[in-house]
């Protein structure tokens, strides 16, 4: 198999080949390190590449295979993680100057679970500074660039994760999502991004942005790969206060059961307003296809949708300032201008605003449970109303507008805590990817993955690759 073929494999295919001793973890890791070496000058997806450690882990994995030992689904497979997660003895910068020399003492829970399942860690991926932004433009490490057109943003904040997975620099990556930071770069880079239910995946060892809105999840090239990673990551972690002790399904078991009989709600309002025409056409076509495949589609009302974005802001900004208060007091000049401004804005919210927003959150969760998820199994929307904008535009004074557009359809789902996924559903005439967002009721990642898998397998979007 050529290096190009190796870096185009899915996690599922590569895992099967390693298990059947048809693929060497060392060869696989070398192919990905070579891809990183070739593409990084153009994409800037990585902050730290742990090449030596990756080669050592790959060799150990290969020796284990030879000895008949197989650690798990990820045995010998090269994966990378957003530089917001702790990875023992590797620096964790959070994309910031403030933490530029910070070295993690231990693995985050997510990284530990990946390693336990046999993953080979390739390194730490670029991000919006402190994960506090949706463009991925980073003043300290430079922007990660979109593999479909390096003059365009990847979206963020998991910008490097989007670029690295789409370009074949790694088989899969981890991201975090506070207002859309997994799904936005997934949509803009033409890959799959899954934000699980709040509490489904441990956040221990991940630098917080906003405790009550942060989520950890996989970014992959196929839905099956997202299911594989969720299988590894999901589960209660007593050391994370927000981790829930909920039953975990085998996400692969029901993956191929299709959408027949599922009820998919299409919001009448908000989620299709001010959408680029090419995005709307692609998403509506995807919904039609899901209907043709046996799902029932129906228009629905989405309660409190006009109030949710403001309430989310009233929670996210003060929580973020609380995380950063000490550094904002002692080292404010070391922040990038946009992140510093958002943190300063956190000071303009009073305690009463925060409490009312949290009350509204409880009310919204109840209303969506009773009025939305009692009627339907999933909702379908565009992931983002726009596709990847040029880096120049996103860095200018219009950048704030780009940010507001990017987060508009994703952040209500962080507020609600429901699981949501972005899957590729088309390309613009310019050749830039478009994402379909599906969301399910709390803890029902199974239905979400089933529907996403059915759609993906009925289309060919996931098989397109950017020029390498």
């Amino acid at each position: 198999m050529s290096a190009g073929e190796l870096t185009a494999l899915s996690l599922a295919e590569a895992g099967r080949l390693v298990r059947e001793r048809e693929l060497s973890p060392v060869e696989m890791t070398d192919a990905h390190l070579a891809q990183i070496g070739r593409l990084e000058p153009r994409l800037n997806a990585f902050i730290t590449v742990t090449a030596d450690e990756a080669r050592r882990a790959a060799k150990a994995a290969e020796d284990e295979v030879a000895a008949g030992k197989h650690r798990g689904r990820l045995h010998g497979l090269p994966i990378a993680i957003k530089d917001l997660f702790d990875l023992a003895s590797v620096r964790m910068t959070a994309g910031s100057r403030i933490l530029a020399d910070n070295v993690s003492a231990d693995d985050s829970e997510a990284a530990a679970r990946l390693r336990e399942a046999g993953a080979v860690m390739l390194g730490k991926l670029n991000l919006h500074e402190f994960a506090f932004g949706a463009t991925g433009i980073n003043p300290h490490f430079g922007p990660a660039r979109n593999p479909w057109d390096p003059e365009h943003i990847t979206g963020g904040s998991s910008s490097g994760s989007g670029a690295a997975v789409a370009s074949g620099e790694c088989l899969a990556a981890l991201g975090t999502d506070t207002g859309g930071s997994i799904r936005i770069p997934a949509s803009l880079c033409g890959i799959v991004g899954l934000k699980p239910t709040h509490g489904r995946v441990s956040k221990r060892g991940v630098l917080p942005l906003s405790w009550s809105l942060d989520h950890v999840g996989p970014m992959t090239r196929t839905v099956e790969d997202a299911a594989i990673l969720l299988d590894v990551l999901a589960g209660h972690d007593p050391s994370d206060a927000s981790s829930a002790d909920q039953p975990v399904s085998d996400y692969l078991a029901s993956l191929k059961e299709g959408v027949r009989g599922m009820r998919i709600g299409i919001p009448r309002r908000f989620f299709f307003e001010n959408v680029d025409p090419e995005v709307e056409t692609a998403v509506r076509s995807a919904i039609t296809l899901l209907g043709e495949m046996g799902a029932t589609t129906l228009e629905i009302d989405v309660p409190l949708i006009d109030e949710i974005p403001g309430a989310l802001t009233a929670i996210m900004l003060p929580e973020a300032l609380a995380v950063h208060q000490r550094w904002m007091k002692e080292r404010p000049d070391e922040y990038g201008d946009d992140v510093r401004y958002r943190l300063e804005l956190g000071s303009t919210y009073l305690a009463v605003h925060y409490v009312q927003a949290q009350r509204l959150r409880e009310m919204a969760v109840r209303a969506w449970r009773e009025e939305v998820f009692s009627q339907i199994d999933l909702i379908a929307t565009p992931t983002t109303p726009i596709t990847a904008r040029r880096i120049e535009e996103a860095s200018s004074d219009d950048g704030l507008q780009v940010t507001f557009s990017l987060i508009r359809f994703t952040n209500p789902l962080n507020f609600l805590g429901v699981p949501a996924i972005s899957v590729p559903c088309g390309f613009t005439t310019e050749g830039l990817p478009i994402g379909l967002q599906l969301a399910a009721r709390w803890w029902d990642e199974e239905s979400l993955l089933r529907a996403a898998q059915a759609y993906e397998q009925a289309t060919n979007w996931h098989n397109r690759r950017p020029a390498r």
Binding site: T197, H198, G199, S212, A241, S242, A244, Q246, L304, D306, E307, G310, A311, T313, A314, L321, Q325, M328, K329, P332, Y341, L343, E344, L345, G346, S347, T348, Y349, L350, H353, V355, Q356, A357, Q358, R359, L360, R361, E362, M363, V365, R366, R369, F373, G417, V418, R441, W442, W443, D444
Partner: protein, 61 residues
Amino acid sequence: MTDPNEEARILAALAGILVPPERESALAAGLALTKRIAESLAKVDLGLSEPAAQFRAPTTA
């Protein structure tokens, strides 16, 4: 009427951060958005809803 720059500076100081004079007007502009959000929140009848001490996704859908 309070000067918006002064208002923004006081709020920032209460939150424990120092906003240099050259950043005050931008923060004051942002404060206008905060006020719009606060007004919007105040219009919602929140009934008996209580804030969760810690957000938890509901265990029954």
